[in-house]
Symmetry: C2
Subunit: 555 residues, 2 copies
């Protein structure tokens, strides 16, 4: 028994915000029984992942140990925690456990990937627990920006681990359970070996604010707005939806939901009983018959997503609805770093329509769902663990969070994706480094981030593309001249002649001079045609395009 | 005379932040004499302009009226006001006027494009004026985040126009002239027909802060830092450079400048006498011989630019220098919306090295160079113009600024790029809409934003690229099978066969079945090969790639 160990291994979410996927293991080294906590996704962007549809954690390490996996626990229903359960169901085939609301969201994803009903098991909140191998796990309600979030209490033969999940300290969260200090203190009493703790807001110096602090300002806003009001927020922020819809109703406005995620969340919130008292909603067709000042559109796309309802309304029309002078658009949200361009694009399009834009405005219309620095310190103090491992954050967040802990005398370590940490000793220590990374969903295919496919796309976007074709006869003699086709390149360069003509001329001269040996060698010919075409382009347009060479030999 | 008019025409900067280029005209409609105010650039990004090197205003309208242009006035040396003077020198050939510091920067750009010495004329500050045709123009010192910024006083037969340029109200700007209320009030006295006014900070509700308010916190920061300090800010913010360098010197640190723009700005600042008292600097080689706590590196790249000194230091090494645990990196800057990803990337790389990162931290280490809302209102009140036209801002900024003016009883209009405004009447009115846009510097070539070249690159980045080649003999009969080459696409799809094989198989079947008429028609053959290849890819990988079809006919 003495060589058994308790390990923690982040495969996603540690060194980044998003794509959460954590593994805990207990047993003899290499033979640990494993549980997975969260299987999230992250989103592509034009900078680094053009054309990619979705980014998933690389779970090769888990796939090779499928027999060791006991279960998968999902802390809450945000895409960066739940988004990959469907995609990876078939690869892992371990039972998936979640609370009711989270489970209802997981169910839809599992259905899309043909998983059976038995794949998912709904768990009641703490004090109920479930036991899988050496792990006894309880879902402890914790406040966050989506209902029924849970921190996990994971009991093992080496003691208790608390995995905070994403959380904030909110005693009046509008929907769902308030943060319960007494309950967490009770859980801490027997002693906690390790707290694995959310780090995303570690740089926010003030204590976090409650969801309930927004009610008054949103109420006033709805009363004072004159034309149609459009409000956007994360669809999963069910509490916010309720605050917005209730304030609208009191201001004599009927609520219309736009966007698939918005309708789905209200549907799931209603079917799980969390949204009792949510105003009844009207359809887009109904909206057309109503005075504008009697309508609230609650829409997706707070982050400027191109296909969401916000972007489509800003483009002109969505579901028959158009915005106009005198309407007001409320961003009840914060722009996630990296999404600024998309959000600003929408704001300017709305401005062109004469729509007034109201954004967060110093916290009147949005609060964060994560614990700020003082709240993290409070959580450390409540749990009083023997060690604290920061999770869910970029490197700088993890490092800052670890330092705060160390400065308070709490052993810590910066553990990024792929670092397997041994939690068995007095201090966390690195047990192993695991090869890990990202998997892309590209169209309908899963591709590896390092396959070079996306790198080639980026190169074409930066440099343009050129096709060079050459036909050789049975005697390896050129049949006609080399032929050039361009894509994403200017038609003329400095010489003012057509760029294709200049390049074809250079290639033609080479082919005419080339000796038999060169013309016979696939490799040499390819190399030379490419080199000459690129140099020719460089001197004409100052760019070296990507080149595809196609040499056809008649035989 | 009565049909002569005074017009204002933004060609860049109105409806965007950056790429400033404004035209004023006076004369009979269509025959106006023209002056240009500022010729700036804006910067490309992967989202919309991959592979582009620089973005310039489209000056076709000006080129067609070259004979009507009297002169080009540059208000200050920021790239978004001065960046295109070199590129467009040859196209416009009008005298360029600027104050000494701005002129020294313009000189370098003009030299790179072979313009003669006479192209540039240095002008002293107001009350000196210069007269070109119907315009008498004075450069009035105004505070901003670069030395010797000027607002322009433009006297015309229809009265006085004040073009604010970029500005803030700063009475203690560290370097250069303080904002001078009395001087501006004096200028306003004879009556101002129109104020054309900076709008970038119209959404900032508090009065702006002076550059001098940073001195104490920067001083304290330099004293308290232990290892090497690296500080980044806009190189053109010469006042900030001075504050940072002086504070470093007092803390026993020698200053080393890294990055071309940083060295150039200090050089120009010194040669124009603005940087008297700037500490003498040391070379990167000198740094290697010094204790870390005695060094300040002043570096370019506050916006995360990939090739700048910041990014290179974060990547590991620059000019022989490396950062390490215990060093501190200060961002004495604000991240411009859209640049977050690049900046965050650098912060995390530094975090991995153990470098402490200090950012703006609630305004301790950075102030904006633009007038906030109350400052804009103060400027309106000082100038008391008959009308106010907001310039330099996105649509939402211009709209907000115009509304503030209108609410204070000041006639205004939202004038975006291409809207020619008649300033001759009691209210600003639209005289004409001009076709305008953007010109890209792509490698060494100028291309139009609407040429479709960049659009094709974006499509390849999103969808990948495929080449289909087919050879036909003298009788239009296929010689062998169609051949497929892929770029930026996965090698296999759902059938687990090689993607090229599947597509070639589908194309081969089509070619074998195709009738003579199809095989003879260039257009039909191209259309069908493309369609089949795309559909085949769609069913295999869920993506329709961009396709280049090359049909070769032997004859």
């Amino acid at each position: 028994m003495s060589n058994e160990r308790l390990i923690y291994l982040p495969l996603g979410g540690a060194g980044e915000i998003g794509m959460n996927a954590y593994v805990y293991g207990y047993g003899a080294p290499g033979k640990e029984r494993l549980i997975v906590v969260d299987l999230g996704v992250t989103f592509p962007d034009m900078d680094g992942t053009p054309g990619v549809d979705l980014i998933l954690p690389d779970i090769s390490w888990l796939k090779e140990r499928r027999e060791q996996i006991e279960a998968i626990f999902i802390t809450h229903g945000h895409e960066d925690h739940i988004g990959a359960v469907g995609h990876y169901w078939d690869a892992l085939r371990a039972p998936i456990l979640a609370r009711k609301f989270t489970g209802a969201l997981a169910r839809r994803k599992l259905d899309e990937h043909g998983a059976p009903d038995t794949a998912l098991r709904i768990v009641e909140a703490w004090p109920e627990t479930v036991t899988f191998g050496p792990f006894t796990v309880g879902f402890v309600p914790i406040s966050h920006s989506i209902p029924e979030s849970a921190g996990l209490v994971i009991d093992t033969p080496k003691g208790r681990v608390v995995h905070s999940g994403d959380f904030k300290i909110d005693e009046t969260p509008i929907v769902g359970e308030p943060f319960d200090r007494a309950l967490w203190a009770e859980i801490a009493k027997p002693g906690v070996r390790a707290l694995i703790c959310d780090s995303t807001n570690v740089f926010s110096p003030e204590p976090g604010r409650s969801e309930a602090t927004l009610s008054d300002s949103i109420e006033t806003f709805m009363q004072e707005a004159t034309g149609m009001v459009v409000a956007t927020t994360f669809a999963s922020n069910v509490a916010r939806l309720k605050t917005l819809a209730t304030a609208a109703e009191r201001a004599g406005r009927s609520v219309c939901l736009l966007g698939r995620a918005m309708r789905r969340m209200v549907e799931v919130g209603t079917e799980t009983g969390l949204l009792d008292g949510f105003p009844s909603t009207i359809s887009p067709e109904d909206v057309l018959d109503m005075p504008r000042q009697n309508v609230l559109l609650l829409v997706t796309g707070s982050q400027g997503e191109r296909r969401a309802a916000s972007a489509q309304l800003a483009n002109g029309k969505y579901m028959g609805l158009t915005l106009t002078e005198g309407d007001t658009f409320l961003f009840s949200s914060k722009t996630i770093p990296g999404n600024e361009r998309g959000v600003i694009r929408i704001m300017n399009q709305l401005s062109e329509m004469g729509v007034d834009i109201v954004d967060d405005d110093g916290g009147k219309y949005h609060v964060s769902g994560h614990a700020n620095r003082p709240d993290l310190e409070e959580m450390h103090a409540i749990i009083r663990p023997a060690m604290m491992i920061p999770m869910h954050g970029e490197h700088r967040h993890l490092r800052k969070h670890a330092r705060i802990a160390e400065e308070a005398g709490l052993p810590s370590i910066v553990a990024v994706n792929g670092m397997m940490i041994d939690l068995s000793g007095n201090r966390p220590s690195v047990a192993e480094y695991i090869e890990t990374g990202r998997t892309y969903i590209d169209g309908t295919v899963q591709i590896g981030a390092l396959d070079g496919i996306v790198r080639d796309r980026i190169k074409m976007a930066l440099n343009g593309h050129m096709v060079v074709t050459l036909i050789l006869d049975e005697n390896d003699q050129p049949l006609g001249e080399p032929w050039v086709e361009l894509a994403g390149l200017p038609e003329t360069g400095i010489s003012n002649a057509a760029l294709v003509d200049v390049i074809e001329e250079d290639l033609g001269q080479f082919v005419n001079r080339a000796d038999r040996k060169t013309l016979r060698s696939e490799e040499k010919l390819d190399h030379e045609l490419r080199r000459i075409a690129r140099n020719s382009a460089q001197s004409e347009i100052g760019k070296k395009p990507e080149v595809t060479v196609v040499v056809s030999r008649l035989s």
